[in-house]
Symmetry: C2
Subunit: 206 residues, 2 copies
């Protein structure tokens, strides 16, 4: 089933709903949008809209069944094997992302990292594998990896991107400050860290 | 002089304009929005709007003076001592940001990092200082630091935030997945890395 596109803001609130619902379950069977909105400090209209996008509508008077809602939210976040993610470029940023604990609440797991400078498999601080680039293609095919994070220097980004696309990756999160050439069926999302800080600086100074 | 608020997208294009203008200077005295748009693959209206926000309008027929434009763009990006930035939390992410080379093109420089686990000053790979937290307040006051990056775990974020605000920091870039309580005159920009990846994942699956 193809859903309507969800906004980044709605997506960002899903883990909040889930966390709260788990604190009231199983003591509470049903919950209203009014209560949810109040407990989470959100607008009631927003809560209804968010939940409608992910689950279904609540019922008049009884509201949402808490168990159904938890299941829907979890299913929405955790939609199966296609969410396997790899990183190419195990420098400081790549390793920071590899070991970052926050992805789990969105049902995402970074499976492994790859680096040209790694000659035999090693492990990150929390025990995630970092493999040589020679293993990259086989790993992606064996694990049907569709999402890749690119944390190599700009000078190597295009070459690495080509290799990722060839290995079957269809969605790229690119940290290199450059523009990648990719086939039309490949989605690229750029993360421009410098621009984020520059924007804060400008907002701050008005 | 207080300028109108600049959009993130406009800000993101400034380094592009600057880079291109420097390749034609000093061989070229004047340049039109038409040429700039064509060379950079942008819309002409967008170019005019971007440059008007940062510099002034071009003149009919002659366009913009290249030297003036370079100066305006550089001044816009690099607006003095207030852009000093410090990081609190020198884990992998903090160190990755400290040594990231991309901030320079926005006139920003991360001066130093601080960490509770550091007992005497040390240096990052590219030679930036990492100090013990005990030195934090004095450093911020001596260097009039107004912008801080928070890369500590969520559990410590509020405490560190309070210390940053007390030390005079007025703009915070927060990487911890939490909500900070700050005085009204403090600007907080959250960077939710997990949400960015989750959003890519959702866009990818439609």
């Amino acid at each position: 089933m193809k859903r309507a596109e969800i906004s980044r803001a709605t997506l960002g609130r899903i883990p909040q709903y889930l966390k709260y619902l788990k604190t009231v379950f199983p003591a509470t069977d049903n919950i209203s949008a009014t209560i949810l909105a109040k407990e989470l400090g959100l607008g009631e209209v927003q809560v209804r809209k968010d939940l409608a996008a992910v689950s279904g509508a609540g019922r008049p008077k009884t509201g949402y069944r808490v168990d159904d809602l938890i299941l829907s939210l979890e299913r929405f976040l955790n939609d199966g094997e296609d969410s396997r993610v790899v990183i190419v470029g195990a420098g400081k940023l790549g390793r920071a992302l590899l070991d970052y604990g926050g992805f789990g609440e969105y049902g995402l797991d970074i499976t492994a990292a790859f680096d040209i400078a790694v000659t035999k498999p090693e492990f990150s601080h929390i025990g995630k594998p970092i493999f040589p680039m020679a293993d990259f293609e086989n790993f992606c095919r064996d694990h049907r990896v569709k999402i890749g994070i690119l944390t190599v220097p700009s000078s190597q980004a295009q070459e690495v991107c080509d290799r990722m696309v060839k290995a079957g990756i269809r969605a790229l999160w690119c940290f290199a400050p450059c523009v990648l050439r990719t086939p039309e069926n490949v989605l690229v999302q750029y993360e421009n860290m410098a621009l984020s800080l520059a924007f804060l600086n400008k907002k701050f100074k008005g």
